[in-house]
């Protein structure tokens, strides 16, 4: 408004100029005029910015759903794969370290102990047998001397027989009976000689067999002792190694459960973060609603270039500044929340991948006994060693059987020898009888039979010697029979016991080794599969997470909007700093908020401008249901 030069009435400047009136402008007026022009220039830059802001925000509100749905779908896939992986790992661990394996290992240890006991017993038995056989050998040697006596005796009998023949010829007819006698002696001495030779041969053979058997048994025993000690030590070492691996798998079982729990926690975090899409969308809607409320103001501002309406202009510009400042803060917060939520999703997905990868590495490390190139496992070592022991046991059993056989042979041979010696004894008795008869006959012939009587006496003596020698040999043989009999009983008894024990042990061992072999095969088969799945899953997660960029895109768009809003409200504040109307604006705008976070931002802006503004909230009613607190602060049960 200006003063007309010709009057004091005020008229609008435009009207004055239109009527060609002469106007007078004060310096104050000029200054305000310049301000309005400047405001108009600034305002003209706001409208396109504002349109751009609204357009971008509306795009943002609908731009992210597809990405979130894709992430949700991918997350579910990853969750399923990781759950399957954990389950497979658990089964593998159970196979390698479960109660069944532990029981089998304990039983293997027991069987190993039983084998040691068996081998010790067999060893002791063999030593006893060798001692007994050595004793038999010694006794057989003792028999040699009296046996040699038989041969000598036989020769002497032959000489006597010849002497009897000669002397009997001197007797003429009376000597004919003595000739018969000589024939008998000859025949019997031959028999003694033959029997003695037979006994001698049998004895030699038996001695040889015994000597050889003792040597063989000692050799076998020495070999077995050396091998057995080595194999049992190796087997114990393998079993210990198996126990260590078993223990490692048990620890791994705990780790698998921990990884499953962590996966669940990661998924829980992801599900929670995914909801920020909906929260973000609603925050954007509220911001859009607030900014759209300014559109009429922009329409109004087009006409407000006149000085009369500069107070309204100030109000509008202040209002625009207030709204833009507030919505800028809300958008800043919303954008930050969304970015953080998506970053959290990526982090949690990567955590799942990392944990599974670590689990796969731990599994491989724990199964260090598996030779990937030769496809053997630590269980194969145990199986091999147990097989070696089994072979040694079989060898021991053979030795034992052999010994039992030898004992039986010796017993049979001794019985045979005893028979021959008994025959010799009988022959001796027979010769004694003949000698007695011939003495009687010699006595009957008178003095002519004196020499025959002496010969008869000599024959009688020899036959007594033969009987005594035979008795001596029989005594030795009886001792041998006793020893061999005892040995035979022991070896037979031991053979039966060890057979039963061994066969039971072998059957059980075969079953256990078969189970272990199957477990080993299962491990060799499963581990590479598991590793492959782990690698696939981690690669998949890496691919998915590196492709998630919705938060970057949204942030870029939001940053553009924020820049525009900041420029607008800063310019507005430069023109008209926040005034008393701001508080009213703040109260009015608070009504549209539905979220606690929005209300907090609102209050912080108010505080920034030195206003304490507590968004109207009725005091929270006391929660009569005390169990609700167990669900969290964001849960109410009515």
């Amino acid at each position: 408004m200006v003063h007309n030069r010709t009057s004091t009435a005020k008229v609008p400047l435009k009207t004055a100029i239109a009527h060609g009136q002469d106007v007078r402008l004060s310096s104050d007026h000029l200054s305000r005029s310049n301000t309005i022009a400047k405001q108009a220039d600034i305002f003209n830059t706001w409208q396109p910015r504002f349109s751009s802001v609204l357009t971008t925000l509306q795009q943002l509100a609908g731009a992210t759903e597809h990405d979130f749905l894709k992430i949700g779908s991918q997350m579910q896939g990853i969750y399923q794969h990781s759950t399957l992986l954990s389950e497979t790992a658990r089964q593998l661990v159970e196979a390698a370290s479960g109660e069944r394996i532990r029981t089998l290992m304990d039983r293997l240890r027991q069987i190993l102990q039983e084998m040691e006991t068996y081998l010790e017993k067999a060893h002791k038995q063999n030593l006893n047998s060798c001692s007994a056989l050595e004793k038999v050998g010694t006794l057989l040697i003792q028999v040699a001397e009296p046996l040699a006596g038989f041969k000598k005796m036989s020769k002497q009998l032959y000489i006597l027989e010849v002497s009897v023949k000669i002397e009997s010829t001197y007797l003429g007819d009376m000597g004919s009976e003595f000739l018969n006698l000589a024939q008998d002696i000859k025949k019997l001495s031959h028999q003694i000689k033959e029997k003695a030779n037979t006994v001698h041969d049998h004895r030699l053979l038996l001695s040889s067999v015994i000597t050889q058997s003792i040597a063989d048994i000692h050799a076998a025993q020495t070999y077995q002792d050396t091998r057995i000690k080595a194999v049992i030590n190796d087997t114990r070492a393998s079993l210990s190694k198996l126990e260590v691996v078993n223990e490692g798998f048990s620890t791994l079982g705990v780790a698998i459960s921990a990884v499953s729990e962590e996966n669940s926690n990661n998924i829980s975090e992801i599900v929670q973060s995914m909801q920020f899409h909906d929260i973000y969308r609603q925050q954007l809607e509220h911001i859009i609603e607030a900014l759209e409320g300014l559109m009429p103001a922009f329409s109004g501002m087009r006409d407000k270039n006149s000085l009369q309406e500069d107070i309204g202009q100030e109000k509008l510009i202040s209002n625009i500044g207030d709204v833009c400042e507030l919505q800028e803060a809300q958008l800043q917060f919303a954008s930050s929340e969304l970015y953080t939520a998506v970053a959290s999703i990526v982090t949690n997905l990567r955590n799942i991948g990392t944990k599974q990868k670590q689990l796969g590495q731990d599994l491989y490390q724990k199964t260090g006994g598996i030779d990937k190139t030769s496809n053997t496992s630590f269980i194969d070592d145990v199986i091999q060693h147990m097989s070696s022991i089994t072979n040694l046991l079989t060898s021991c059993a053979s030795t034992n059987k052999e010994l039992a056989g030898i004992t039986r042979k010796v017993t049979a041979a001794v019985d045979e020898i005893t028979g021959f010696v008994a025959d010799i004894e009988d022959i001796g008795h027979e010769i004694t009888q003949i000698a007695l008869n011939s003495r009687i006959k010699a006595a009957c012939t008178g003095t002519h039979g004196a020499s025959l009587s002496a010969l008869s006496e000599e024959v009688g003596q020899l036959s007594n010697d033969a009987v005594q020698s035979a008795d001596s040999i029989i005594a030795s043989l009886t001792e041998i029979q006793s020893a061999t009999g005892k040995l035979s009983i022991e070896t037979d008894s031991n053979e039966k016991f060890l057979d039963v024990a061994m066969s039971g042990m072998m059957v059980e061992l075969s079953e256990i080794l078969l189970i272990l072999k199957n477990v080993g095969a299962e491990l060799i088969s499963l581990l590479p599969q598991l590793q492959h799945k782990v690698n696939s899953l981690t690669a998949e997660i890496e691919k998915i997470t590196s492709g998630i960029n919705v938060h970057e895109r949204a942030k870029a768009m939001a940053d553009g909007v924020l820049g525009n809003l900041q420029q607008i409200f800063r310019q507005a504040r430069e023109l008209y700093p926040a005034g008393s109307a701001f508080k009213e604006d703040l109260r009015r705008m608070a009504e549209r908020y539905t979220m606690e976070s929005e209300r907090r931002i609102h209050e912080s802006i108010a505080k920034k401008h030195g206003m304490e503004l507590s968004i109207n909230q009725r005091p929270k009613e006391p929660n009569t249901n005390s169990s609700d607190s167990e669900f969290g602060d964001n849960v109410d049960l009515f």
């Binding site: 909230q617 964001n634 109410d636």
Partner: protein, 121 residues
């Protein structure tokens, strides 16, 4: 037999996460895209529980609750709001309409399951 829970929300990503959470815990799920869709389905099918958002097009959560409580088939089922709103006035409104509980987003899956187990007991 598995319990059947309906989830009504205009946000597909929220429905996706709620369905995933419920199915992982052994529940069968029926989805609805807004209040009207939910009410139509509830008038035709028996469910054991309803989880509903508050702000939805066509029919909001309050309207849905009132419709369910006025109906016959699912009149007495527990209904829990799953919403971003946390104002006490709104909670009071929900409770008056017939809601059983109120959960403010973002929720943790274990929270949701714990609440469901409690109200279904």
């Amino acid at each position: 037999m598995a319990k059947v829970i309906m989830t009504a929300d205009d946000s597909a990503s929220v429905r996706q996460m709620v369905t995933f959470t419920l199915k992982q815990n052994g529940y069968d799920v029926v989805e609805a895209v807004d209040g009207r869709d939910a009410l139509n389905k509830l008038n035709a099918q028996k469910v054991d529980m309803l989880l509903t958002d508050l702000n939805m097009p066509n029919m909001d959560g309050i309207g849905l609750i009132k419709g369910v409580r006025a109906g016959a088939l699912n009149k007495f089922i527990p209904i829990v709001m799953l919403t971003t709103e946390s104002q006490d006035s709104r909670k009071t409104e929900g409770k008056a309409a017939g809601a059983t509980g109120w959960i403010v987003k973002p929720f943790k899956p274990e929270q949701l399951i714990a609440v469901i187990k409690k109200v279904l007991r």
